[in-house]
C-alpha cells in the first residue's frame, strides 16, 4: 500500500485548523464529485479526498495520523483490547524491540480477526437472526466515442471497460443503433452493478459521443458540408459531386453561386429522433487555383479589363 499524505491530498498544511480542513474538503468534494466533475480521474480523486477527510477531519484520528503516519490505523485497531495495547504502542514508537512482544502481537491479531470477530455485532459476517436485505445493483455509465460514419450506419462491436470500483476489466457486446445521436445513451440491461440478496442487477449506460468530423459539422439538427468550387464553376453553374454520409450524390450548382451560399439537400442529413433523415447543406467555397498557368492568368487579366463588377459595396477612399 502506498503512503498517502492526507494533508497534501486536501492541500492544507499540518497546522491547519479543523475549520480550514473542513472548508478545503468541501471545496474539493464539490469539484471532484464523480457525478458533477468533468475530470477524467474524478472518481479516484473523490475517494482519496474522502479518505483523507475521514482521517484528518476527525480530531482523534488526526492525532493518531500525525503521530504514526500511515500505520495509524493498525495502531488504533491494536489499541482496542487494553492489556496488549502497550506492546503495540511501544513498537510503533520505535522503542526497543522484544521478540516476545511480537509473539503476543500475533496471538492478539488472531484473537481479533479469528474466531471471536465473526459473531460480533456490527460485523459483516452473517449471524443467526440477521437477514440479508435485497439491494438493487447500481447503474453504471460510461462514454462510447464514435465516428460520425459509424453512428450513422450503426455497428456491432465489443468494447472493454474497467470498473472504477473493482478495477476489473470486462468486455461487452454492444449493438449501436443506426442514427444514434450525440449524448444519447445505449442501455445494456442488467450489465451494471450486481444486486445483493437476489435483487436485480443495475444497467450499464453508454453515453454516445460523436467525434468531430473532418468534412461534416452539425448546425442544430442539420449537417453542413463545405463544397469547394472553381471560380468558373461558381460563376457559370456546374454539375458536381457532393459527399453525404451515404455516399456521393451529384447536384446542380446554380450559376452565380458565391462563397457562403448554401444548397439544401433535403433528407440527406442525419436522422432525427424519429428516424427521419434531416437536411444536408452544401456550403459553397470558391477556391482560386493556387498556381495558375500562363493562359489562365491571361484570361483572368482579360476578365479584369472587361468586367464592371463591383464586389465591394462601400466607398473606397485612398489616404
Amino acid at each position: 500500500m502506498s503512503y498517502k499524505d492526507y494533508y497534501g491530498v486536501l492541500g492544507v498544511n499540518r497546522e491547519a485548523g479543523a475549520d480550514e480542513i473542513k472548508r478545503e474538503y468541501r471545496k474539493l468534494a464539490r469539484r471532484y464529485h464523480p457525478d458533477v466533475s468533468k475530470e477524467a480521474d474524478a472518481e479516484a480523486r473523490f475517494k482519496e479526498i474522502g479518505q483523507a477527510y475521514e482521517v484528518i477531519g476527525d480530531e482523534k484520528k488526526r492525532k493518531l495520523y500525525d503521530r504514526y503516519g500511515e500505520s495509524w490505523k493498525a495502531v488504533s485497531e491494536g489499541r482496542a483490547p487494553e492489556p496488549d495495547a502497550d506492546s503495540i504502542r511501544h513498537e510503533s514508537q520505535g522503542e526497543e524491540f522484544d521478540p516476545g512482544q511480537f509473539r503476543d502481537l500475533g496471538s492478539l491479531f488472531e484473537e481479533l480477526f479469528g474466531g471471536p470477530r465473526a459473531g460480533r455485532p456490527g460485523s459483516r459476517h452473517p449471524t443467526p437472526g440477521w437477514r440479508e436485505w435485497p439491494e438493487a445493483g447500481v447503474d453504471f455509465e460510461s462514454t462510447l466515442e464514435l465516428s460520425l460514419e459509424d453512428a450513422f450506419a450503426g455497428d456491432k462491436r465489443e468494447i472493454r471497460l474497467s470498473s472504477p470500483a473493482t478495477g476489473e476489466t470486462r468486455s461487452y457486446k454492444v449493438k449501436i443503433p443506426a442514427g444514434v445521436r450525440d449524448g444519447q445513451r445505449i442501455r445494456l440491461a442488467g450489465q451494471g452493478g450486481p444486486g445483493a440478496g437476489g435483487a436485480q442487477a443495475g444497467d450499464l449506460y453508454l453515453r454516445v459521443r460523436l467525434r468531430a468530423h473532418l468534412h461534416f459539422r452539425f448546425e442544430g439538427p442539420d449537417l453542413v458540408s463545405p463544397l469547394p468550387l472553381a471560380p468558373w464553376e461558381a460563376a457559370l453553374g456546374a454539375s458536381v459531386a457532393v459527399r453525404t454520409l451515404a455516399g456521393n450524390v451529384r447536384i446542380k450548382v446554380p450559376s452565380g453561386s458565391s462563397t457562403g451560399m448554401r444548397i439544401r439537400l433535403t433528407g440527406m442529413g442525419y436522422p432525427d429522433p424519429t428516424g427521419q433523415r434531416g437536411d444536408l447543406y452544401a456550403e459553397v467555397q470558391v477556391v482560386i487555383p493556387p498556381n495558375p498557368t500562363f493562359q489562365e492568368r491571361e484570361l483572368l487579366k482579360q476578365l479584369a479589363q472587361v468586367s464592371r463588377f463591383q464586389p465591394r459595396q462601400y466607398e473606397e477612399v485612398d489616404r
Partner: protein
C-alpha cells in the same frame, strides 16, 4: 405503450418503469421518487404520467449520491443537474460545430 422518445430512449428500448419499480431499483422510497417528479428532477414519458424510461434510474441514483456526498437539498440538486445538462449541451454544440 409507445417507445420513449428524445434522450430517454433509443431504437429497441421498450422497457418502461413505474414509480415503484424505480424506487426498488434505486433503493429509495416511492415517495422520494414522487418528490423528484414534483421537483421536475425526473420526467415521465411525455403523454404517459407515472411511466418512466429506464435511464431515469441513472438520474435518481445520481441525485441520491449528490445529496449524500455533498449535503445538497433537492432544489439544489435540481439546479446542479440542470446546469450540468446545460454545460453538456454547450460542449456538444462546440464540439460538433467545430468540424474539420
Amino acid at each position: 405503450m409507445s417507445r420513449p422518445g428524445g434522450e430517454q430512449g433509443h431504437p429497441g428500448s421498450v422497457e418502461i418503469f413505474t414509480v415503484e419499480q424505480i424506487a426498488v431499483r434505486c433503493d429509495v422510497d416511492a415517495a422520494f421518487v414522487a418528490q423528484l417528479v414534483a421537483h421536475g428532477v425526473i420526467d415521465s414519458i411525455p403523454g404517459h404520467p407515472g411511466r418512466f424510461a429506464p435511464v431515469v434510474t441513472l438520474r435518481v441514483q445520481k441525485v441520491v449520491r449528490i445529496q449524500r456526498d455533498l449535503g445538497v437539498n433537492l432544489q439544489g440538486v435540481a439546479v446542479i443537474l440542470d446546469l450540468l445538462r446545460r454545460i453538456d449541451e454547450l460542449e456538444r454544440e462546440i464540439r460538433l460545430r467545430r468540424g474539420g
